[in-house]
Amino acid sequence: MTTKPEKKAADAAEAFRQRWTPKLTGRLEPDRQIARLRFTPCGKFLLGGGYDGTVWRWQYEEPPQEENAKQSEGKSRRRGVPEAPWRPLERFKSHGGWVTALEVHPQGGIAFSADSWGRLCAWGYEGPQEPKPRWQQPQAHDGWITDMALSPDGRHLATAGVDGTVALWETGSGKLLRRLEGHGGSEVLAVAFHPRGDAVVSGDLFGRVLHWEFPSGRKVRELDASALYKLHRLQDCGGVRVLRFAPDGKRLAVAGTRPNNGATIQGVPTVLLFDWESGKPHAELSLGPKNECFVCDLLFHEAGFLAVATSGTPGTGRLHLHREGEEKPFFTARGPINCHALARHPKWPLLVVAGTNSGSNGNGRQLRNGKYVGNHSPLFFFQWASEG
């Protein structure tokens, strides 16, 4: 029998769920796969780091008048979802390999992008022409730059690489401030700045999270996220794939998978929440069955929930909204699958997630109209009624 306090709590949870359940309002169809997404602070541009070595740009356009919208509805809808009103612009093409890290200066105007061949670029994202680098570091890391994070004031940038280092840069000049080498050569897969700007954290393949004092670069302590790592046969599996601080800086989300096996990797998509002050884990979120595998991206919403993008066996992986303190997500989107990137609009109650087309896998020759076609990342635009 339900008690009064339980009923009250259930009613509150239901009200929260209804308040923060978003609606799918739009969709874009870039023809390549997207690894990272960011909105610019003005909210007019959306940037996407691609597997094609470019940064995609879209600019917001006012939707047409209501009559025009009705007329064009049939043409622009895809699976019942209208095309999002974001017009593609010339891409930024100075990268090689994959564009695997992307951030935008908090004061706007400049984007920072990094690729899997070790190049780091700063460039202006506005204007219709193909952007050119303001500065670039062709060998910022020896190989794959896996992640980057901006300091809250935008003056510094931290990058993480499979070369086992974290590098700190001045965003204005591109000058290397310091290189941090405490991961013992292990691939560093994620990096984040504390909202106060006095600390950087970096996470590696073996589940070690290092806390560095900023700007001195002194190693302060190590947090244990080794639950996100497993050696299976010959393969080192998992690792810290995402690091995010809560806006108040009191909690650190360390995310990846609890690996079960390598090769066709399986594992439970997992977020470990650490109390920043004590450095101790205080919660663990398991976001799906073991074939859903990785948390690929996440962000904290100040209303008290996490938006999490997961991806596993083709066809699995979702956008989950998970209220802290609850056992299960209060919302799991039905549309997107194999989600790899998230971005939240700075002004509007809007969240965009990069998924993957359906039927993305399959052995052997699978031709469409006689051609061998690659996969792509549809972008799904979710909207809340309004920000609370």
Binding site: G97, Q235, A263, S311, N361, N375
Partner: protein
């Protein structure tokens, strides 16, 4: 007593155990104290050509050609990695193979391999049997084929040794119509068969008596049973004898730290050391298997973890084969059952791709530094003459001194070609 020619499972299990136990116990003393002598030195002293051998590295599940021997950086399906220059001018391979990049002048890569099966269940046996024409018989795997066609080396070592993760034992199921005798002696985790050494307190005379008893029991057991199976038991017994004479091969204390580091302190690295020792001791065909290469998910970080370990181990064994001169008569093969799809799936993985993939091979007179064939700009299809596994079998048999187009197996009077009738040796690889 049931005289059925094929004994039942229980008889089979017990009898084999008895035979092996007897064999292991009985012969240990007789071989005690014998020392291994290097084959090359022995043959050089006798003015003979050393026997041809095979090192076969099997990456089970499917190495990605794009993350190894045939990178296509900067293309739609190229993945995140760079290509690096090698010791062969103009040849670039994936950055995950820095050690092999320095040694590509010793070996060759075939980039135009195009096979038929995209599933493991069909692909593995088909590839390992050379995909011959269907004649209603089960062909042997390559190791069994070489064991049959070349026989054991003069060393008396087992002709077909398989260094693998997990358990070991005598594995006869891949010998096909050749019969169980041509199966593999599997060294699980690179370790010798259990109970290789007799108990220390067992007197010599007791060993001798047990030996006599084993022969007596064996004669009784054989009557009315499948001769092939008994033949395999005897074979296993003799293999055990041969190994007992070389117990030091398994003495891990004789492997230096430097050697372990050079090969890499990984499963494949340490297994490769065992494989090299088996070759040095005179095994004809040594297979090293690494499991876990079926990277349908997280392909790129998986290959970043896997490939450098393989790279280090393979480079180290090639260094040793070159230094000892053994590469002149040791055929090297490193391959999987297929490659991986150019297309990158939603799990950031690559699926199975037999259409266009690569095999590394070398030694035993094969062209050094050769690059055979090519794929198209995106790495999707072969743009030169495609080579099936049958072509590779012909080429490897030829390199081993076997006339692949005229030699036949004799399957109880049925002549069978040793490789696919419609295929032929790859001339540019043979030189």
């Amino acid at each position: 007593m049931n005289r059925h020619p094929r004994c039942n499972a229980e008889q089979h299990r017990l009898s084999r155990r008895r035979v092996l136990q007897g064999a292991l116990g009985l012969c240990a003393g007789a071989w005690w104290g014998l020392r291994h002598r290097g084959l090359s030195a022995a043959f050089a002293a006798e003015g003979k050509e050393p026997p041809r051998q095979v090192l076969f590295v099997w990456l089970d599940g499917g190495l990605s050609q794009l993350e190894s021997w045939d990178p296509k950086p900067g293309t739609q399906f190229g993945g995140p990695f760079r290509a690096i220059a090698t010791s062969v001018p103009g040849l670039h391979i994936c950055e995950l193979l820095p050690e092999m990049a320095k040694r590509m002048h010793h070996v060759a890569v075939v980039r135009s391999v195009s096979t038929k099966d995209n599933s493991h269940s069909a692909g593995v046996p088909r590839i390992l049997r050379g995909d011959p024409k269907n004649r209603g018989v089960v062909y042997p795997y390559l190791g069994s084929a070489v064991a049959k066609l070349l026989g054991p080396c003069p060393s008396g070592m087992p002709p077909y040794i398989w260094v693998k993760p997990g358990s070991g034992g005598f594995i006869d199921k891949y010998a096909g119509f050749l019969g169980p005798k041509y199966g593999a002696l599997a060294l699980g985790e690179g370790r010798p068969p259990q109970n290789l050494l007799p108990p220390k307190d067992l007197p010599e005379q007791d060993l001798h008596d047990r030996h006599r008893l084993r022969r007596l029991v064996n004669r009784h057991f054989v009557a009315g049973r499948n001769a092939q199976i008994n033949d395999a038991y005897e074979h296993a017994y003799h293999m055990a004898q041969a190994l007992m004479s070389r117990r030091k091969l398994f003495d891990e204390s004789t492997i230096s730290d430097e050697e372990r580091d050079r090969y890499g302190r990984t499963q494949i690295g340490q297994h490769m050391i065992v494989a090299r020792r088996m070759l040095e001791a005179g095994a004809r065909f040594v297979q090293v298997t690494s499991y876990g290469w079926d990277t349908h998910g997280d392909n790129f970080l998986a290959h970043r973890s896997l490939v450098p370990k393989f790279d280090r181990a393979l480079a180290a064994v090639i260094d040793d084969l070159v230094a000892s001169g053994r590469i002149e008569h040791t055929l090297i093969i490193a391959m999987s059952e297929f490659g991986r799809t150019p297309r990158i799936n939603g799990h950031v993985g690559r699926d199975h791709w037999p259409e266009a993939w690569s095999v590394l091979t070398g030694g035993c007179g094969l062209q050094r530094g050769a690059v055979i064939g090519a794929t198209d700009q995106q790495g999707v299809f072969v743009k030169t003459e495609p080579y099936d596994i049958g072509h590779l079998f012909h080429t490897w048999f030829t390199a081993l001194g076997i006339d692949s187009q005229h030699t036949e197996y004799d399957n109880n009077g049925q002549p069978l070609p040793i490789a696919h009738d419609d295929c032929f040796p790859i001339k540019e690889l043979l030189g």
